[in-house]
Subunit: 298 residues, 6 copies
């Protein structure tokens, strides 16, 4: 009798696999660029779940490309090495010595942790910085009142190395470090790098993992989530203060991805277990979906 | 609040997808030959579930090849056309007119129903008979006391057309009709055809859908299921009467597949929902697994 | 002495092979869609000759694609199964049960006979219905005064499976059965299917085998054959009654092929031995050639 | 009425094409090395017929490779340039100046005439000497009583350039000039070069065009032709004087081809129209067929 | 101590290799058509150096294509064969017999010498005439007051055979012999053929080896070399008499190459050792560079 | 006059390029694994020269694969971060925190500097650690008297990612960090990693850059250099004390490479300018060459 019960459980699980089939079909062969950062990069359980999601995505025929940030870990190690940490308008003031530390942490620590974790879950990841294969060409950000030092912005993506890895079924994991023609290294905003990579690959989806449920009309009320936002409405929401603070650059990154040809951009909550699968494999998805114009397809 | 609950359900479902990951990895790129027949080919719900399983298998990187039987439908249409139906030792006596009807039913009706059903579920199937691409060369079965007419046995499989379809991600669906060098058509046992195809493809798995739970030590006791059976023990079980009747030719087909180089053969219960997924995506599988020697890997 | 004579005969035969060379060059690598039907599908000698022509075409570098009809055999088997046969304006009234029989006869009998015959002559054919690989999407014909049932028309051809077979040198043989998105099967006019396939493949030639010498100005006078007909003259000839009856839909199929991009369409006499070779391998060809405009090349 | 008659003639011709089909199938994709020389290289009509045969062979899927000799034309031009012509045991004494003339005639005249003739008949030939792509490495023949000068023998064939041309459907036409490691040019026997090329390509057939019907038991009696000769009988026939004179080196070339792995070698009469087609496209072939052992297949 | 000195010499040599790196990068994968003629084809040392340059070019990733002339050698052999040699306005009057000799010398002697020399230096060359692979279609030059006989001009280049050889890393060496549709052979100006080939290949560079340093403002003063010449200035320099005599057709060939899409054309001095490398691997190059318009890149 | 002088200089340089041709031919398409470390990784001029050599190698058809060490930089940064640095028998005691720092320096700093430098010189490098693509599987070294912590040894190389990069002409640059099945990171000896990679790639050459001229019979006498050393003599030289200290593990790495199938191993002096080119492009090479047995080819 317990046997029968057990069998029923297994059949119920098989049915759930079958429920995923329409989504698997929809995204088969599609490129999805994921900006990985925030709590999902710190909490051990969330980390594991992201890795599982990425490997599953790969096995069901999706082409995930990961771009990660660095934040707290950089600060921690800079402090350990006795470097003063300073931010101006949310951007880290980056002198030469800081740039070296940032690169070591991003490329030599965080990137490699993600690569190893994906591999441990059965995928085959390859870590890239913007230097590898000449992937990201950056330049100094000069629009600031103060000199931010080696804070850069990407103005050219040469995606050959990503295509090379993709053809052989490797999962590319990108650290947002860029280099200019003279070989000077720059620290770039990871959201912007992810958007630029998504545009260069003409990705089908751009998923931005954050620590909030999406864009909320009222930040104190999670029920006020905007589930869809056409780019045409962005300026209005900024002027109303609905989009502000840390959300503003994220929305701008999505906007750049969409105007550059990416089909859909999503700001989702990385604190939710299996957020990537929930976004891809449910009808409604989660978080806020940004679209070029209202009424476009999922 | 209900939102939260709903989210928990979705996360639970995502976890079930993740649970499937180790099995997906194991069977990625592997060829699985499925003998499709019995109740799973008659009951509408079971039919749908088999189609879903096949399409899911394809999307997660498995290469399913389907060989189907025909049984009751052939009898029904023969009777409708006024043909007498006669069996000798479980094999249908097949005169020229019967052979024509059998071929029409197998190739023009049942095969096409399966093809259409797979396509409706999002796969892309192509129906084949043994004539297509010279797939199956048959000869008259002569080991019988009575002349069975056009009952044949396959002695050559030319799998080029299957490889061609596989390279382009089509799912081959094979009707067990063969032809000899003179162009004479034969009706072949579908279990045998499936085994021969599995050998020709050097398949990783051969799944035989039946209407029983597997090989039972005591046919009245479903708890007496033999979960693994090394080929070396087959003769003993036959002499003990454990393997007999309709199970005997199925075990023989599995034996031929295994001695021909197929890694695993499974006799499973097609009356169970999603029997194919349960076999592939659970540790224990279902039914009886036949192996070359005891202790070989799953 | 007889030896010498014999040698002369052989040399004369070699010269005839050499005479074929310019035509072989002209059609090397070209796609030719053949609508196969009528007497050439019934008379045993004509049948053999068509198969020989198809295999020779393949060996000298032409890419033949065969679409066949069914006519009399369908009626015969329907009657054998006790179904009433009814036509309205040349189209078979097709209820659900009739559709099943039609499909069995087309796909499970006639198509397989052609496949086996080509293979017996040294080609390698693969039979296809419109369901295989999602080749033909059909919809119900609704322009009739009476409900014809499952009489359909093809509105989408997905030629992937034909290209797949062509790359590996298989000869595709197509039964004119289509299916709609819901999986409902339709019986389609074979001339129309052949024209649609020719357009989808952007074939170089469309050869329509009929039981008459071509379009005759005076049906009682075979010397009144129109050897070339520009599509611009079709309406005029219809209004004059020169094109009428069974010829009308055949001319319409040719017209659709030509306006869809096929280079040449030919209505030829399938009652003539080796009609396909005669059309391809002689300067004048046989039958009526339809062209987009007068003066276009052979 | 004449029309009908005319149609009958055309149908008769079509039947002859169909008669060729079994031979076309047999040789499809096969490599045939042809030693071209003698009358067939002098008589204008025979020349044209050889070219036609070569082009037809190519179009029906055979891979012809031509090796030609030079004989009379070399003598003619040497005399025109005031060079003394001298032979020792059938081999031309070749000083430095003669070698230059021989190379010019073989590579710059005869080879180019064949190339142009094939192209004029619709093939696409490319002329090669043993220098092109390092095809033939030769060394001085030293087994003679007198110093023959630059008479060489091929001891290495590097067939890369032939494979390159074959992949793109060019017909290679080879002049039997070789070169040693120091760059010294040698004049090689064309029969030997053809045999060496046939071995290097592991050709299916080696056809040696001569001016006689084949090996005759009695040279005055054309009815005494040996239609098949196993290599094991060669020594016996030499000792009997049946194989002697100019036939001896030709038989030796065939022997080398066969022992080197070529399936069949044929000594055929180039004075017969379309000798190549007659050999390939008739059951009995023409001339003498040399085989490794009696009873091997055509 | 001498060891140290020796090491310094080696290091100095390594530095020179490294100096070549920017040029190697610039021309990597580029097609360079070289018109080879004049002193560099006669003087033994210069010949060797050209061969070395060609092989080095190939090994560092450049795609050299050689077109050669014939001049003095043709005259020498014609005289040896007792043919009268006559020129009208710098063009050789060419009757049928002369044409035969010219072809033999160009294709059977000079071309083969170059092929053998390249191979001896470690490249793998294949000699081509305009007949091989239908490379050059020519027609009779009719713009002359006198009938020049078989003096032709190329009006069609079919570069397939060059692409075929290039894909497999062979170096094509082309003799400027062409053929018309009827198979008539023509003697073409090698500069013109080289320009036509450069256009057909859309070459990056066209290098014309001459016996002068380039275009000199004052022919008696080598310091008056024009290092760059935009095509727009050609007519002016002709009217001034700066471009005249033998230089005129060479400038015209360059002009045709440039207007046909070739990036750069260079008239260089073949009497200088390693002229090809000097042109490619130095900033200023040597000789006169012709460009579409002033200021275009190297 | 100065012009002439200048031209002579250029020609002399061209001759030096030509002198390199035989070496370029020898190594065309060959894989050369370079262990990069020591002074050549610290001195700015030497660094630049190594990068130039690598890029030149790539452009002349060689396939360089770089494995680098880290030494002094690791110590410097560990000290900066307040970590105690300790060595036992030449191996760094590596606790968890040290391992993190080592990885950051190797992968995030030194590796990226090499990648950027190669790219700046016109190559296209991609940095790899042993984690990327699962390249290096390591395990804890346990043969030591003390627990060295995370000092590892590579026991599996999965070279897929190197082959992938090679096919697309990227230069792989490998940091000697490995990972075990549980995801634990290990610090591996770079000489050993380079040898293991050379074996996995079945490299033609393994070049080990050191700070000494090679193996010296008498360490104080540079003239006592052993230019060639068969592996059979290694034990003898160790027992004689000729091979000892820091040279011992380097000789062992070479030995492992050679017994694993690499053709040649060379211990060369990275303090010499362009040491890589000198080794490859001179007859004698530099440093000590280790061979499987005496008398093997260069």
């Amino acid at each position: 009798m317990r046997k029968g019960l057990h069998m029923d459980t297994l059949i119920a699980k098989a049915r759930i696999l079958i429920e995923a089939l329409p989504y698997i079909k929809t995204f088969y062969g599609k490129t999805v660029v994921i900006k990985y950062g925030g709590a999902a990069m710190i909490d051990e359980t969330l980390k594991e779940e992201v890795m599982q999601d990425l490997v599953l995505m790969k096995y069901v025929g999706i082409r995930p490309v990961v771009v990660h940030g660095g934040g707290p870990e950089i600060t921690r190690i800079m402090e350990q090495m006795g470097k003063k940490v300073e931010f101006v308008e949310g951007r880290r003031v980056t002198d030469k010595a800081s740039m070296e530390i940032i690169e070591m942490v991003l490329v030599g620590k965080l990137n490699q942790e993600i690569v190893a974790a994906i591999n441990r879950h059965g995928g085959t990841a390859v870590g890239l910085s913007g230097k590898d294969g000449g992937l990201l060409t950056a330049r100094k950000v000069v629009d600031s009142k103060v000199d931010l030092g080696y804070v850069g912005e990407v103005f050219k993506v040469k995606p050959d190395i990503i295509h090379t890895l993709d053809r052989e079924n490797f999962i590319p994991v990108i650290a947002p470090v860029g280099v200019d023609a003279e070989g000077q290294t720059y620290n770039n905003n990871a959201d912007d790098v992810a958007a630029a990579v998504a545009v260069a690959l003409q990705a089908d989806k751009f998923l931005l993992l954050t620590d909030v449920p999406g864009i909320l009309r009222d930040p104190r009320n999670p029920d006020s989530l905007l589930s869809t936002l056409p780019v045409s409405k962005i300026e209005e929401l900024i002027s109303q203060g609905v989009i502000s603070g840390g959300m503003l650059p994220k929305v701008r990154a999505c906007e750049r991805a969409l105007t550059g040809g990416v089909h859909k951009a999503h700001i989702i909550n990385g604190k939710v277990s299996h957020a990537l699968l929930l976004e891809l494999f449910t009808d409604k998805g989660i978080g806020t979906q940004l679209v070029v114009k209202e009424g476009s397809e999922p």
